[in-house]
């Protein structure tokens, strides 16, 4: 179930719509020709390395997200408001099974973005690597990447993407 969700997410995320990833694998999710560059991001407990990214508008980037922490993490790209909405949703889902906020959040990868679309997202188990191919939009100056599992972005798993022309 999770694998298929992830694959769907990646499809939506990749502009080429050719993406098909496998959870935890390091298979290519888009033909190399379509990707301008690959950015490696480390997801630890509770941080991303690097903490800021500079990406050119229109650039297609393959994110290789390595989870070196002990907990499951996600890597979601969106504007700050959409990220906040996603966090609130996940917190509400977690609270329905009181105190189990870290496990009760199936299907959240399809987070609603601010402009009606879905935010590109991957979820990465501890020790795994996941890939996400994404093309930077031209109409915004900056975006946020975050892990919205309850408490994670609040603890520091949040970074800024500066979108240069």
């Amino acid at each position: 179930m999770r694998k298929s969700l992830l694959a769907i997410t990646l499809c939506l995320a990749a502009t080429s719509a050719l993406a098909a990833g496998e959870h935890g694998g390091s298979h290519a999710t888009a033909p190399d020709a379509e990707v301008d560059r690959t950015i490696q991001v480390e997801a630890g407990d509770m941080w991303f390395d690097p903490e800021t990214l500079g990406i050119t508008a229109g650039e297609t980037v393959r994110f290789k997200v390595v989870n070196t922490g002990n907990l499951k993490h996600e890597f979601v790209i969106g504007d700050a408001a959409a990220q906040e909405a996603h966090r609130e949703m996940m917190q509400a889902m977690g609270d329905s099974g009181h105190g189990d906020g870290h496990d009760g959040h199936g299907g959240h990868d399809m987070a609603e973005g601010a402009h009606g679309g879905e935010m590109p997202a991957v979820t990465i188990a501890p020790g795994d690597t996941a890939e996400l191919v994404w093309t930077a939009p031209a109409d915004v100056e900056s975006l946020v990447y975050a892990c919205n599992i309850p408490g994670h972005s609040e603890s520091g798993m949040v970074g800024e993407i500066q979108l240069g022309k």
Partner: protein
């Protein structure tokens, strides 16, 4: 505001004369000389009473005149401050802490929550002889942990009068959270009375400080709500136990002024921030007797550590902090405005307050205090028991009114027929009949914050939320179970374990060196008790399996049954007690001997 300007000028003659080393970065920031804006690792701090940086620290203990809440008082001071300065150590250091007693009575300092050799633990009569007047005792121990802790006197009732302070240990490795700035928030309960007089009042007139008894007006309100028979029956039950359903706390705001970093709500101590920063608040309950419910209206708090130990982050609106517990929370105010840090006493008789603000002199609205709660029937020895089926004969077992003066069993309910409450067995029982490590005991209420908290009003931290990042090193199942009952005789103000006060027991509790055991604490009383074990961690079996959190102090709610796993690796004698100061003094204290 005139008042708050007084407290933001800490560079007084007193400080220069007596606390030279206490001229920390915090005081400079408060003066506006050098804004202590954070470095990337958030190593700045602001604490109102100065900082003593380790590894070598000298502390002088005095009793002197000092204003508290604008009134003349004679607290115990540490380097001229009350409560004392923050001690800052680093993981991996060898700490050398010289404590000089300038009192005319013996004193001591206990390093609460630190794992250290038994002769450095600072409990007179257990770890050492105490520090005599005029004497200097040098504590030496390797610092092998990090996080938010505190220190306090373990002599008599000195702790009640400000003989305490924060103890912060910086981590050797990266912590599982990031922040830009930190503040220490030390909660205490100050009384202008002599603590011995407070204790006498408690002994001679139970409920002395309890002005919130149910009244005839409440009676008619209850009759309207519940009908006459139910109301009369309820009152009768409480009367039989010689208790009031409003005994939430023994000592209340009628004598206490609740302080935050030594400042009263009116003085409004201010913690500075810049909008957009992530701030770590290190909250310490250094009170003698008071539990607090802490919230910052308008801000979500993310709990990242409990009792100095990192936990998986839990975003909450409010948390209850028992006496001697510590919680680290992160907040991220995005607006350039003031927020009230509101710490309401559990019995609702008062509050401590400070302000989180971008500039000095700001204030935000103070929330309305909640009404005092009634102890529900769950408090009546609810070891997972269904009260609706409680018969009159069950209640007879709880009738304390006919106990004789020589009845050493006190309120020990262990003889009570629990009517099959233990039948609710968990599926995770092992072959020997014991629960698997990490499982919650029947009778625990880890998903409840406790009395006076409406779980629907806001998201409140509960013990069930606390979850470690990785399992603690000792993964063994417990080899045995040790069950202790928390007992008391409210009327005579006697508090004890298993019905015996400390003066009545003949020897220590034995832990076998290196054994793994399960300590089960059953609260037979009607009050919360924060139980503290010195020298070893208690891994709270809150149902999180191998990710159970470890703590130095466990809050046991009335009627609750709580368990913890202990690795008895610390040879020697250790104190084990209720951290409500007057309960400890009244006899709720034991020595644990690991041999």
């Amino acid at each position: 505001m005139a008042r708050s300007s007084v407290i933001t000028q800490p560079l007084s003659r007193r400080r220069l004369l007596k606390g030279g080393a206490a001229l920390g970065i915090g005081s400079a920031a408060a003066l506006g000389l050098r804004p202590a804006w954070a470095d990337p690792w958030g190593q700045t701090n602001v604490y109102a009473k100065g900082v003593e940086e380790g590894p070598e620290v000298a502390l002088a203990i005095r009793r002197e005149s000092l204003e508290i809440d604008g009134q003349a008082a004679r607290p115990y001071t540490i380097n001229g401050e009350s409560p004392g300065p923050m001690i800052r150590l680093k993981e991996g250091q060898d700490a050398v802490l010289r404590v000089t007693n300038l009192l005319d009575e013996p004193t001591s300092i206990h390093w609460h929550g630190l794992i250290l050799p038994p002769d450095q633990d600072g409990v007179p009569g257990v770890s050492f002889a105490g520090i005599a007047p005029g004497e200097t005792f040098t504590y030496r121990f390797p610092v092998r942990q990090n996080g938010t802790y505190w220190y306090h006197s373990h002599s008599g009732l000195q702790e009640q009068l400000g003989h305490a302070g924060p103890l912060i240990i910086d981590a050797a490795e990266r912590e599982p959270f990031r922040y830009d700035r930190e503040h220490v928030l030390l909660l205490t309960d100050w009384t202008f009375e002599d603590p011995m007089a407070v204790f006498r009042n408690l002994k001679t007139a139970e409920g002395y400080y309890n002005f919130q008894e149910r009244t005839i007006g409440d009676f008619f309100a209850d009759v309207r709500e519940k009908g006459f028979a139910a109301t009369a029956e309820m009152r009768g039950m409480w009367a039989k136990m010689r208790m009031s359903s409003r005994d939430i706390a023994d000592v209340t705001g009628s004598t206490y002024t609740y302080l935050l970093n030594g400042h009263s709500p009116e003085e409004n101590w201010t913690a500075l921030f810049k909008a957009g920063e992530r701030i770590r608040l290190r909250v310490i309950n250094g009170s003698a007797m008071s539990y607090f419910d802490v919230r910052i209206p308008g801000l979500k708090m993310t709990v990242v550590a409990a009792d100095g130990q990192p936990v998986q982050p839990v975003p909450v609106d409010e948390f209850r902090i028992g006496v001697a517990e510590t919680y680290d929370v992160l907040v991220a105010p995005e607006d350039d405005t003031a927020y009230t840090i509101f710490a309401e006493s559990m019995d609702r008789s008062g509050y401590a307050r400070a302000t989180l603000a971008p500039r000095e002199g700001m204030a935000a609205e103070i929330p309305e205090r909640r009404r005092i709660a009634d102890r529900g029937m769950e408090a009546m020895g609810a070891h997972g028991m269904d009260h609706s089926s409680m018969s009159d004969s069950d209640m007879e077992g709880m009738d304390h009114s006919n106990m004789s003066g020589d009845d050493r069993e006190g309120m020990d309910h262990s003889e009570m027929d629990h009517g099959g409450s233990m039948a609710r067995e968990s599926a995770k029982t092992r072959g020997n009949g014991m629960l698997a490590a990490g499982e919650a005991q029947p009778g625990s209420r880890y998903d409840q914050a406790g009395i006076g908290i409406d779980p629907n009003a806001r998201r409140t931290l509960v013990y069930r939320d606390l979850k470690a990042f990785t399992p603690w090193p000792d993964r063994r199942e417990p080899g045995r179970e040790l069950e202790l009952h928390l007992t008391g005789n409210m009327e005579r103000y006697m508090w004890s374990f298993d019905g015996k006060t400390f003066s009545e027991v003949t020897g220590p509790i034995h832990f076998e060196k290196d054994e793994r055991l399960r300590l089960i604490l059953v609260n037979d009383t009607m009050m919360e008790h924060p139980i503290h074990l010195h020298g070893m961690w208690m891994e709270l079996e809150n149902g999180q399996g191998e990710l159970i959190p470890r703590k130095h102090t466990l809050n046991i709610k009335p009627g609750e049954r709580v368990s913890a796993l202990i690795t008895a690796d610390a040879e020697g004698s250790w104190a084990f007690h209720c951290h409500l100061l007057y309960h400890m003094d009244a006899g709720m204290f034991r020595v644990v001997k690991v041999a």
